[in-house]
Subunit: 298 residues, 2 copies
């Protein structure tokens, strides 16, 4: 009865209004200006061409290549393998596996922005790396992360922010992240009950928790679509509820990114709102809510 964002319950989709603020902090709290905060509030995302030092980036790229070549990684529970090609698509909980990526998730500028947007101390809800290969890179269908994190992980409120650090250039052509700016102000209740252990299938190809065509059409008609582009090292913060996805990639240019989800320490998970057991903690942290230090050495 404290589920303010019900989904997967009704036989028809519904579009409701967001019930939480988008920006929880203030311009005085951190690195983002009033203008940047307003942009994020209105559009649900913010992109920076350069936020990470070149040395740090180089280390991360080396780490990605090493993880991708590691045969043991492919067999880990945290690894998501592409159906068909057998390629590594995602690897979760990289902040526990890799010291380099643990350092990146605590990178002071990233943490400071997350703290300011969420108006509190933050902890890491999820970390992963995503590989979208060149030539045959697969699409990710539209989704709101929050819908799943709420239903399957029990996150109560929209007080989370995702941070994607690109390790390769994002061009208009290599299947970049597409965002429906402003869609974070709506909440689409999806149709279809959550299957048991849904994550085993949904991380490869999601079929429940997916918005219906008519609702998507309405969002696009109202808000349009943007696809931020930028060089390797560019960083995009986006609200947990903004509708996003990406097309396939037939260009030779692969897309790789490191993806962190920061959650407010005041928004730790309850029991999943779908009524099933929670997903594994490598997908959704349920034990360690230690705040990330605001000024860790990079």
């Amino acid at each position: 009865d404290d589920d303010r964002y019900p989904s997967r319950f009704w036989p028809e989709p519904r579009i409701a209004d967001r019930q939480d603020p988008v920006v929880h902090g203030h311009a005085g709290d951190g690195p983002l200006s009033e203008t940047e905060l307003r942009f994020y509030r209105d559009n649900g995302y913010l992109t920076f061409d350069q936020l990470i030092g070149a040395d740090e980036l180089g280390a991360c790229l080396g780490e990605l290549d090493a993880l991708r070549r590691d045969e043991t990684v492919r067999h880990a529970a945290e690894a998501i393998i592409e159906p068909g090609s057998g390629e590594l698509r995602s690897l979760f909980e990289v902040h526990r596996r890799s010291a380099v990526l643990r350092r990146l998730c605590a990178y002071p500028r990233l943490v400071a922005i997350a703290r300011q947007l969420l108006g509190s101390e933050v902890y890491l809800h999820q970390s992963r790396i995503n590989y979208k290969s060149g030539f045959r890179g697969k699409e990710f269908y539209w989704h709101s992360d929050f819908e799943t994190w709420h239903m399957e992980d029990g996150i109560p409120a929209m007080r989370m922010v995702s941070c994607s650090v690109s390790l390769t250039p994002n061009t208009p052509h290599n299947g970049p992240l597409m965002i429906i700016p402003g869609s974070h102000q709506r909440y689409i209740s999806c149709v279809g009950a959550t299957p048991q252990a849904h994550y085993l299938a949904s991380l490869r190809r999601q079929e429940v928790g997916v918005p219906d065509d008519a609702s998507l059409m309405r969002l696009v008609e109202e808000f349009g679509i943007v696809a931020p582009t930028g060089p390797a090292g560019s960083v995009t913060f986006f609200d947990c509820n903004v509708m996003h996805g990406s097309n396939s990639n037939i260009t030779p240019l692969p897309r790789s990114n490191v993806f962190f989800v920061y959650n407010s320490v005041h928004n730790t998970p309850a029991a999943p709102f779908c009524g099933l057991p929670p997903r594994p903690s490598f997908i959704a942290e349920r034990r360690d809510f230690t705040p990330l230090p605001p000024h860790a050495a990079p």
Copy 2:
């Protein structure tokens, strides 16, 4: 032994130079300026935002919808059905099926441009409509049309031009046509022998006559990628040998176009260079080389 563009013969791909002019006519011959001809020669394509009258466009759009809804059309040999979804992806030989589309292929401005580019009278080698649906529109992998038209239809020389008339807007996001500008100056010999009746599979998903990764990488490094965008009604002419393809389309905006291939009357098909029987005439005209009249009533 008169095969100047061998392909599918060697165990390794090869990149050769084009042996035919790109522009066969002159600025004095027709509607295109010296600048436009030079652009086409260097890039292998030309785009126009407005070339077709609004009435004509409206009629074509109505015709497309009618054809798509026609159950008998779906069962025609000329219809290519999407594996999986069962949706109509392409319909060939529309100039024989539809008076509206027959009129469009003979539209004086289109024919005049084709005559000028090819430096001769032209006839219609192929016509089709392509539907890329919204939400679940599938990608088309990179290919040179000429490689297939040469190997499987017996077209001797690069003296053909394709013309795509968009019936819906092309945005950067809805899986637009991507072109490697300048790639028409190279010819990639593909690897793999042509299967019998290859077209039955290849029009759904091509696996022979597809360029290898390393050659594509070289082309993109040398030439880059462009994706012309434009409103409904925009027209793109592109050389028969320019490398092109498109990503998937998860946006709600479908993409539909009418596609004509004009061939020089001096370049009519011989026996297919792969040594197999030719493809059906609804894919590649082999009997009727009647020149399209230069000034037909629209």
